[in-house]
């Protein structure tokens, strides 16, 4: 039995990345990352409720370069999970399963997530006057 030449489940390292698998695993990774990001939102809300000093601390972190990097990543993860999540909702409705449609919607989700992230930060910077 050991010598039977069955097709093997492909090893990920030698498997050519496809848009469907990349968006699938990225959806999961961004989901887990966003779970960590909820700590940031909760920290901000608790600090705002606690008082000016606590709020200054959380604001100081958010405005540091590291804080901004985290927030930028958080923003992108949110938009990707949102865009790709909408794909999932269409699949749940039984639509968009043909491979060309899947690739197209996958590309659209990736591009839209980047565009919306950049747009959000441009708007935030221009409105808030953050320097």
């Amino acid at each position: 039995m050991a010598n039977v030449e069955r097709p093997l489940s492909p090893h990920l390292q030698i498997y050519k990345p496809q848009i469907t698998m990349v968006t699938s695993i990225t959806h999961r990774i961004t989901g887990v990352a966003l779970a960590g990001g909820t700590l940031l939102l909760t920290w901000w809300l608790i600090a705002a409720a606690a008082g000016p000093d606590a709020y200054a601390t959380v604001n100081g972190f958010m405005e540091s370069w590291f804080g901004r990097l985290v927030l930028f990543g958080f923003t992108w993860a949110l938009f990707f999970h949102l865009c790709n999540g909408i794909r999932h909702l269409f699949w749940d409705a039984g639509k968009g399963f043909e491979l060309p449609a899947m690739r197209k919607s996958g590309m659209a989700a990736i591009i839209m997530s980047v565009v919306l992230t950049l747009l959000t930060w441009v708007v935030a910077y221009s409105m808030g006057g953050v320097s």
Partner: protein
């Protein structure tokens, strides 16, 4: 004529006895989170660069509290369901899996409630 055996009918809803409940709740919260996220994002952008008093005032408005409480409820439930599937997919040692599933429930409940309490405190002062 149904091809199902009587036993199969008795055992409906599958081995977890939940049927599609998990999946359906994931979808309901997903749909709810789309508009909630958009509104919350508008709040965040409008509060960039605002001082503490302004932030405090905006967060004390009833509409803000409503949106935030809905957002928190949908987010942490959606998150609990999602992380649960990740654990179930990747952790195959029964004891570790059970512990991680419990920790997931605890984590989502604690952080979610903490966030909700902060919103309530902001709403009712104190």
């Amino acid at each position: 004529m149904s091809m199902r055996t009587p036993l199969k009918n008795v055992r409906h809803l599958g081995s977890a006895k939940e049927g599609t409940t998990h999946w359906w709740h994931q979808k309901v919260t997903a749909v709810a989170l789309i508009p909630l996220f958009v509104i919350a994002l508008a709040y965040v952008i409008s509060l960039v660069g605002a001082d503490y008093d302004r932030v405090r005032y905006i967060l004390s408005l009833p509409f803000t509290s409503l949106i935030l409480l809905l957002l928190i409820g949908a987010t942490f439930y959606h998150m609990k369901l999602g992380l649960q599937v990740v654990v179930e997919d990747y952790v195959h040692t029964e004891s570790t899996k059970v512990v991680l599933l419990m920790l997931n429930s605890f984590f989502c409940a604690i952080v979610g409630l903490a966030a909700a309490l902060a919103v309530l405190k902001l709403a009712f002062g104190g």
